[in-house]
Symmetry: C2
Subunit: 436 residues, 2 copies
């Protein structure tokens, strides 16, 4: 039964701070999801003695070592050679892998440097993991090793497993999910499976969510994981059970969570607020326009991160100056004079103006003080006014947001997108927001 994991990353770009090790985080998250205990994450640069050291230590700590990097074609790519040495096995040349590498170069019309054939070399007992997206296949090895006893002095022979994958994230991730996860399930030698469902939420704090979840799901029914990635929080439900029962149990618990959290859940699975908003607009057959002041174009930017958004997105009027608010959106001078640019009154006229001007079904508007300067007693930094206009609908609300300039902007864009999503789904709009 597999339990303890060490994640190894190799590459000078990691130890010189050139890039962050996002692979390690991704793999640690996957391991957590699979119920595995990551004992350590170890990183070293491209030096033979350091890579050897770290592999030997990794086998002391864990029964599974997952390594990324060092599979490239150049002389500083040392992983395979060192793995073979540490395992005390030879290297074998895999002709089918070599053919695939040659074919890949032919397809893109380039001459293959001879060096690339190093990527068709594997430790003798390796099982090869195909890489449809690059030249470096991965591999896995299961063996026995002499390691220090966990429960006292002396040494003992114990089963050890290792996985080696390329360091390029877009090659590594599908390789792990497609080839490693099923093998790990087998290794775990369990007749149960882990069923997982993820909810994306906005509008409650992590502790608030935790409380609500605890009201409807008992700890023995499912593991629940929270991941905050401002301004959203994802909630993961994990159910371990025999295959025949796991999915049904997960679906039953998911239904409870949907009822408990309601519109705070804006999406399920791997999705974003802008994608959820887009899907809701398509569902309603509506077209959207935006009027922004303090958020400065971020709402439009996020809407247009979604491919195909031209089906529902018409225009975003970023009226930063008061003159532009008057000229483009028809905000009245008197409104600005009487209530100020940061007011619900101005936001309402902005939303109405954007809808009228663009011919959109729905328009959302924001105006506020992103900071760090520009606050006043009446409108301190973080004050943001929102309005939404649609046929027969004109609502507005202000929020006192917090954090740095970029947080206030991001927060503002999230609330505005959520308003549009809620409107498109026929939900209460102004209840969206965030409780501190």
């Amino acid at each position: 039964m597999l339990q303890k994991v060490v994640i190894l990353s190799t590459g000078d770009e990691l130890t010189t701070g050139k890039i962050a090790d996002t692979n390690a985080q991704w793999l640690a998250d996957r391991c957590f999801t699979l119920g595995l205990d990551v004992v350590a994450v170890l990183m070293v640069g491209d030096y033979p003695d350091r890579i050897t050291w770290v592999w030997e230590r990794a086998f002391e700590l864990a029964d599974l070592v997952i390594c990324t990097g060092g599979l490239g074609p150049t002389s500083d790519d040392l992983t395979t050679e060192i793995v073979a040495k540490v395992l005390g096995v030879g290297l074998r040349f895999d002709e089918p892998s070599a053919d695939k590498i040659r074919a890949l170069f032919e397809r893109i019309g380039r001459t293959m440097p001879e060096n690339n054939l190093r990527q068709a070399q594997f430790p003798e007992p390796a099982v090869i993991l195909e890489n449809p997206l690059g030249t470096a296949p991965g591999y896995r090895v299961s063996c026995e090793r002499e390691v220090p006893r966990a429960d006292g002095p002396g040494r003992v022979r114990a089963p050890r497993h290792l996985v080696v994958m390329p360091g390029v994230p877009r090659e590594m991730k599908p390789m792990f999910d497609d080839h490693v996860v099923p093998w790990l399930r087998e290794l775990s030698a369990s007749d149960t499976v882990l069923a997982i469902h993820t909810f994306q939420t906005f509008g409650m704090s992590e502790s608030g969510l935790d409380e609500e979840v605890n009201k409807v799901i008992r700890p023995d029914e499912a593991r629940v994981g929270f991941r905050a990635s401002f301004p959203m929080i994802s909630v993961k439900l994990l159910v371990r059970d025999v295959a025949e029962r796991a999915d049904a149990r997960l679906e039953e618990l998911s239904a409870r969570l949907r009822t408990a959290l309601g519109p705070v859940i804006f999406g399920e699975g791997d999705t974003s607020m802008e994608a959820a908003t887009g899907a809701a607009l398509i569902g309603r057959g509506a077209k959207v326009a935006v009027a922004e002041s303090c958020s400065g174009g971020l709402i439009g930017h996020r809407i247009t991160e979604v491919p195909g958004c031209s089906a529902y997105f018409l225009a975003d009027y970023v009226t930063y100056s008061n003159a532009a608010k008057v000229d483009v959106l028809g905000v009245r001078r008197e409104t600005l004079d009487e209530f100020g640019a940061v007011s619900e009154e101005t936001a309402r006229e902005m939303a109405e103006g954007a809808r009228r001007r663009s011919g959109a079904t729905v328009a959302v508007a924001t105006t506020g003080v992103a900071g760090p300067d520009g606050g006043s007693e009446k409108t301190p930094v973080g004050t943001v006014c929102f309005a939404l206009s649609a046929d027969g609908v004109l609502v507005s609300r202000h929020h006192q947001l917090w954090g740095t300039r970029d947080w206030v902007k991001l927060f503002t864009s999230q609330i505005a997108l959520d308003w549009v999503r809620r409107w498109a789904l026929g939900l209460d709009v102004v209840e969206s927001g965030f409780r501190r």
Copy 2:
């Protein structure tokens, strides 16, 4: 003479993939800049046996260990206890630190949990590093340890140093720069200093920059480091010399680099393209407006990331639909019919319309195909047209960009901002871009 470093990070949130270890990357970058060799980055969760294991291993590998995390007030914050145990020393309670913690709680009007006093405990020989931004001070220790010989079998006593800092990045970073860097300079026991200057560039590839730099700076004159952070690349010059000479030599080399790279350098020190563009506009006393299509609001978003941008930013017209281009910017129907929305002709009318409408001194416009769909033979995915309008100036150009949708958008915004910056500085505008 200090040379080898191990960076340690502790925390369950790292080994379960909840967050990425950005501290390790930041510290690795700082160490690289200081000329130190980071042998390994090691991460473990909050378990006594694992933290002990990793500290013992770290002392085998390096003469300096830099650790973040595990200094909180709760029972799973174990770093200090374990450091004392590994060093074989006792703990001492530091009354001045305790007073500061009490005062901090008083200031925010909260009762201090007794637990927080754990943060006033230090290994006996520790030198305390103040933390003006939080309750957990850091500390450093210098000692001698018995470690395996590097050059053969057996063990030897050798000097070892360690630094422990809180895991919160905004507390850790100033602590490192203010208290640790000067100490490391002393430890290096060298009469030389390292002088550093950073240039931010856009418009050349890393290998292109490398070539240009090599033409004017010999390897023995300075170390040169490149950091690509799409779409910009920073170039760092590092000069080690005696204090009286280092700055003058650095300035002489910097001047050569300025001449060699010219307008490809958009800023010096820690800056962004949007900040450089803003500074250039202020310098010229100009106001800017933007007209966007494919970039969807990203240009406005980036301009408004800079505090105080309301001094020079008037409006951004994100005219995603053709109707909006005609209505808001006065693009002629005939232009759209004849040349298409993605054409230099349309971009020029967008820029002129944005300038006219807003009363800005200068306006920039973008229209293109961000992908992944929507490409045609004439305008494949990645085609983006740019135009800039100012008094007596109307220029345009199209680029064939590449990459995913978000890359094309980011790229587009970078070129547009660079056009405005170049215009404000009186430089050639359309030469900006990116050579693959």
